[in-house]
């Protein structure tokens, strides 16, 4: 993928005479190596998000909120001002930031347990207020950080450490499609479901982030970008197997695409 060279970047010294076709957003990503498991989608989402922040040149105006979950250390990688929230409360924390700094770009970055289980009330009410922020929702159907327990988005029959015989919907209910719920709320301006399992999906995700920041600039309301992602470790799969599982099992349950787009004026 050829990306436009961010204006803030310099060519490395040894790159003279060569055309830059690929580089990381060195301004907005720190040098800290990602701690994520091999094949995990988190690092790609981090990178794409920070690429957009660099390209829009809004590093000095962007504040992120990290959740409790695998991405709890997001602030170690994203070279922007960040706050680390209590489990489930990222959107309330983001609300607090945005309300006192309304001219900044604010986003929360949350997993499925965080956003769709323990933080459901905050999620729904943040969107219902039309809080002018971006909510990034990583849905991999499992609690990754705590070792692969059942999540609110775990699929029926899916085996996890706390659903060892498969998710029994009679006992614990069906997976919650939170994005589908949120589109009912007038405060939701833009709701989309994306992925990072192949380059084309990554390009689409990047577009979704770009749009979300544009809408935030225009004060349109809440933008909600769900990323249906993988968890090779929690799923007990190789990265390649996990991509196959995404395509064959996760995407049919969580179809990709826009769920709510702003009405054309």
């Amino acid at each position: 993928m050829s990306i436009e060279r961010p204006s803030t970047l310099d060519f490395p010294a040894d790159a003279e005479g060569m055309e830059m076709v690929y580089c990381r957003p060195i301004e907005t990503l720190t040098d800290t190596p990602f701690h994520y498991c091999p094949g995990c989608g988190h690092s790609v989402v981090h990178r794409v998000l920070m690429e957009v922040v660099a390209e829009l040149n809004i590093q000095d105006k962007t504040i992120g909120v990290a959740p409790v979950g695998c991405s709890v250390f997001a602030y170690n990688y994203m070279n922007i001002d960040m706050q680390e929230a209590a489990h489930g409360r990222a959107s309330a924390v983001a609300t607090g930031i945005k309300r006192v700094l309304p001219d900044r770009y604010v986003f929360s970055y949350q997993g499925d347990g965080d956003l769709a289980a323990i933080g459901t009330a905050e999620t729904i009410h943040t969107v219902n207020r039309g809080e002018n922020i971006l909510m990034v929702f990583i849905n991999n159907g499992i609690y990754g950080m705590t070792g692969g327990q059942m999540a609110p988005t775990t699929l029926p029959g899916q085996v996890t450490t706390t659903s060892p015989y498969g998710r029994d919907v009679k006992k614990v209910g069906h997976p919650i499609k939170i994005a589908d719920l949120l589109i009912q709320l007038p405060g939701a301006h833009y709701v989309t479901r994306q992925a990072v399992h192949n380059p084309n999906a990554v390009r689409k995700l990047k577009k979704a982030f770009e749009k979300s920041f544009q809408y935030q600039k225009e004060g349109k309301g809440t933008c909600f970008v769900e990323v249906v992602s993988n968890c090779p470790s929690g799923w007990r799969m190789t990265p390649v197997e996990s991509i196959k599982y995404l395509e064959e099992t996760m995407f049919p349950a969580y179809p990709l695409g826009d769920l709510k787009v702003p009405e054309k004026v």
Binding site: I80, A86, A94, T95, G96, I97, A121
Partner: protein, 365 residues
């Protein structure tokens, strides 16, 4: 206290909750986030009514959990923010308060205490003393706790609370009760704009080229790092304990019995002091104004001159433990109080003192 210098204008008859809310506007709060609960809803109501006409921001959240996390976010962004609630709502905030204390963010939290435990009653109580002064949430931390005893102090302590919170980058709490919140008294409001804003270079306001990114977090996964954060907090608490203890003494000079009471109970005990002295019993009163830090040292000194002390509280006896710690067994420390929203009368307290004296006389005879 210091605020008196800055007061302007006429004395006005105000409800405790409204006096506190007005003082918050005068203290130039950038934001208030709250959720209704009796007996403190007037704070949110007053601010929703007045803030749009003046300055700042007020937002009714979906829960106290959301409120306290909005406070975390806004305080982390460098804003002067406050919330208020009563017992059950304050319980819901404990997780957030632990995070705020760990991340060392200044903010003001007001607890207009009602009778508990559980849903309890909406009548006044001091049953949240332990929760307020001993931590409340998980981990080793303290709030700075101020206990007003009048509507005037409901207003003044907003300023004092922010001053202390911002000086130490630590959450402060006003521990009041339903009676002080609801009753009307004369109050002279602190002067608007007389509380300067502090510099917050640590705040998440957007990373500029000239500095590293600012991180607000309470996560220190390496035990060595977590211990060093704890040591830093403890050092701060020692400094607060050294420099910020506040209390008031009434007729302690010649007293051989000392009552210890805070907030509303201290108002009651003030009357008991007078009633006792009319009967020739030399009673004095020590009123802790800061509940954390606590006036241990002064109580220990007073223990040398008295026969006994008595802690008077609107609970089952919580602060009495701190009085006992303070006097180090030098003299007996008694307790009297009412629970569940009931308020002891000055006569009740005097009667308790007299019955202790009677027992002593019997023993001496």
């Amino acid at each position: 206290m210091e605020e008196k210098k800055n007061k302007t204008g006429e004395a006005k008859l105000m409800k405790g909750n409204e006096a506190l809310a007005e003082a918050a506007i005068r203290a130039d709060i950038d934001g208030y986030f709250g959720y209704p609960i009796t007996p403190q809803s007037e704070i949110l109501e007053y601010l929703e009514r007045e803030v749009p006409k003046r300055h700042g921001l007020v937002l009714q959240a979906e829960s106290e959990i959301a409120s306290i996390n909005m406070i975390y976010g806004a305080a982390g962004a460098g804003a002067r923010v406050m919330t208020s609630s009563s017992g059950p709502g304050i319980s819901l905030m404990q997780e957030g308060l632990s995070y705020i204390a760990s991340a060392q963010l200044p903010c003001l939290v007001v607890n207009i205490v009602r009778g508990g435990p559980g849903l309890g009653t909406i009548q006044p109580s001091q049953g949240d003393y332990f929760q307020a002064v001993k931590g409340g949430g998980h981990g080793d931390y303290h709030l700075i706790v101020l206990a007003p005893a009048s509507v005037q102090e409901m207003a003044d302590f907003v300023f004092e609370g922010f001053r202390l919170a911002e000086k130490y980058r630590n959450p402060a709490m006003i521990l009041s009760d339903g009676a002080l919140g609801q009753m009307m008294e004369k109050v002279i409001q602190p002067e608007e704009g007389s509380l300067p804003k502090i510099k917050t270079p640590w705040a998440t306001t957007g990373k500029t080229k000239d500095r590293d990114h600012n991180i607000i977090t309470s996560l220190f996964i390496k035990p060595e790092e977590m211990e060093s954060v704890n040591l830093q907090l403890q050092e701060k608490y020692r400094k607060i304990e050294k420099d910020e203890v506040r209390f008031e003494e009434i007729k302690t000079d010649d007293a051989n019995i000392i009552l210890v009471a805070f907030g509303l109970s201290s108002r009651i005990c003030q009357k008991t002091v007078d009633l006792g002295r009319e009967k020739g019993i030399k009673i004095g009163l020590l009123r802790p104004i800061t509940l954390y830090p606590y006036p241990y040292k002064r109580l220990n000194e007073l223990a040398d001159q008295v026969e006994f002390m008595m802690s008077v509280e609107m609970n089952a006896g919580q602060m009495v433990e701190d009085v006992r710690l303070a006097v180090e067994g030098k003299v007996p420390v008694h307790f009297t109080g009412r629970m569940g929203g009931m308020i002891p009368s000055p006569d009740d307290v005097l009667h308790e003192i007299e019955s202790i004296l009677d027992k002593q006389n019997v023993l001496q005879d």
